[in-house]
Symmetry: C4
Subunit: 224 residues, 4 copies
């Protein structure tokens, strides 16, 4: 894949964030690692989703420093970059403040596994990461420490929002879409009573089958 093709893919994937209502104004972002190079492509800061194109995506090194052009990358670039440095198997990262998932994050609660679709995609609960301020490596560290050794490709960062990872940017976008879908259904289920948990053996069977059928995600990275 050329860098040009990757820019087009990343620009276009932002359309899935708006299609599923995961983002307001300019608040979410998608990035992808340039295969085989220590580079990443990410959304520019503060540009409307309608105006994104291959041309205005920002190419950065894995410290989050732009390597060409005049546009500033997303203000969340440091967190994306930290993940790429620490988790070599990750090819795409997505960040949103999607509503229901962020509501769980505001309570600091992980999402229990009430749904077979959650067992398939997330392998169990969706975990909560620590509160962290923007502006250094704290958010990145919180994402990596929570997701390392965990089946879930999504983490709810406390009082903040969602980060998802995947072998490709598209897989990370899928995880962001499914995370909000699961968060919404689990919210509604619990709003009127107590959902029935799924037995751990059934969660394991569902996850194993789904990963084999679709099998596009490598095993979790060793602790960084």
């Amino acid at each position: 894949m050329t860098e040009r093709e990757l820019r087009e893919i990343v620009a276009r994937l932002h359309g899935e964030l708006t299609r599923y209502g995961l983002v307001a104004w300019t608040a979410g972002n998608v990035s992808a690692r340039v295969p085989g190079r220590d580079l990443m492509v990410i959304k520019p800061s503060g540009v409307d989703y309608d105006d994104l194109s291959a041309d205005n995506m920002v190419l950065c090194d894995l410290d989050g420093v732009p390597v060409e052009g005049d546009l500033s990358p997303s203000s969340d670039t440091a967190a994306h970059a930290y993940v790429y440095r620490a988790m070599p198997e990750v090819g795409g990262v997505v960040h949103t403040h999607s509503t229901y998932a962020t509501a769980w994050a505001a309570r600091g609660e992980s999402i229990p596994c009430y749904l077979t679709a959650q067992a398939d995609e997330f392998g169990g609960e969706i975990p909560v990461g620590p509160f962290a301020l923007i502006g250094g490596d704290d958010i990145g560290k919180g994402i990596v420490s929570t997701l390392t050794g965990h089946r879930s490709p999504a983490v709810l960062m406390r009082n903040h929002g969602v980060f998802t990872i995947g072998p490709t940017a598209r897989a990370a976008v899928k995880a962001a879409v499914m995370c909000e879908d699961v968060a919404r259904t689990a919210h509604l289920a619990r709003a009127l009573g107590q959902p029935i948990p799924i037995a751990q053996a059934d969660i394991d069977a569902l996850y194993d089958r789904y990963q084999n059928v679709y099998g596009q995600r490598p095993s979790p990275a060793p602790s960084s």
Copy 2:
């Protein structure tokens, strides 16, 4: 109706699932029995809704085995196929994880009949089926055992989602749309207090009238 026309109908009906917000990513599917033959047409696995067309629908036998082409059918094909084998009056099957209906399913609760529209379309409560793992006939058996002898064309499969049936694929899609509509309204009604149940005699009168006026659905199949 030719097989070609049926492929076009099934492809296009997926557009109703996205229009009404019943599906996320590639998670729901529609199928139709080929009239007079032991064949069915179903969504291919993992293809975006935007990319569905008559050409990429998958023609399968009633064991769920593709009879032509290279595309794999939906991972839910076994459940659809089981329903067609067990319920000869069924011409269409739909599966979704629509949010509100699935929230009831996560609690293992049937939806009581609080609405005249529910009495019309479902003839009373919308029932819950058993927890079942994907990969064999368990889901299909759960659908058939729950819907056989029941007025409702929709079943909430526990911790999973919705399956609906109909004499045609279009009727099954309508039932999926109405199931989510009813599930959402019933959820909201109960969130702030106790809805007023509809008397059984009134439910019966509404259902009888609706079936006669629109009268397109045959009587329930005998126990399989």
Copy 3:
């Protein structure tokens, strides 16, 4: 206005029901009285919203009997017709099962006046009408007896849905849109605590001002 223009207006106004998400499948309908004649124009039964046009609107007399063409009118035609017979100042009627309003209707609860926009448009609470079976004049009678002498152009028919009236079909559609908007906000306000009621004198002042500024609705009909 010609009958042709009225058909176009009524067909097009159904687009507002879908735009605001007030209807699922084919479940809501708009009608208008033909000015100066004992006739009404209404949606055909069971036709998709996408397929509505001036040509397939159904012209009926005020007993709900079609006076030309082959299409059947909406199954709610008897209720619309009853309203036109009993309330000569009404020029348009709308029926929906919009979600939040219908949730209040399922509990048999009127919507208290928590919002200045509700005071403006509805002059206070939105009332509940009786449970009534379709197929005779019961629904029409319930609408008329509830709205006669009441400021509100909307009634929540118990376990059923919303009917709204207006001097024109457009005004009735506006009332249907605002009814759902008010029902949703009031639901959410009450979900987390106790909303603050608006004092009756303030409701009166708001309603009087709004009716004078926009002043397109005649005073309520005398009891029928």
Copy 4:
């Protein structure tokens, strides 16, 4: 910027209110101060959002009196005008009845700061203003007295809705979009338990950083 360009900007910004579902029928409005002149551009009263254009925006003086053309300005013009007179640093004002924010307003509750995005944009809680009747300066006074000396560019007017301000109309629209986003997430967070508050020092750090990075908003006006 010419007055013509400002009219186009204001007309087009209303499209963001509909895109994000902040308005029903014709109930919200955007205005902008004409830079360097005692004039403002505002939505006409009762015109559909689909029909807004540069040509039908209404040019008013800062008492809210139209200075050209035949169209009446929004019925909320007096409140906008009062803000421009009292807060010279304000270049844009937006009013909506957006659902979740208005639900907090109906309870007379400010929105506590549970989210880093809220700390960024609003600098802490979103405050509640007084109940005020339309038709004089009471709404304007309530907005100005609440927002003066407060970090938040948004105020929840009790039992009414949201007003937001900004150095430009676009900034005020962004604040209206983010206010509803924050109000919805905070509502859902609290619906299932107790969200974790963010420490004041962290709120301050987030707000300071965000204002410096995006730094387009002047400091609050002195008390009027």
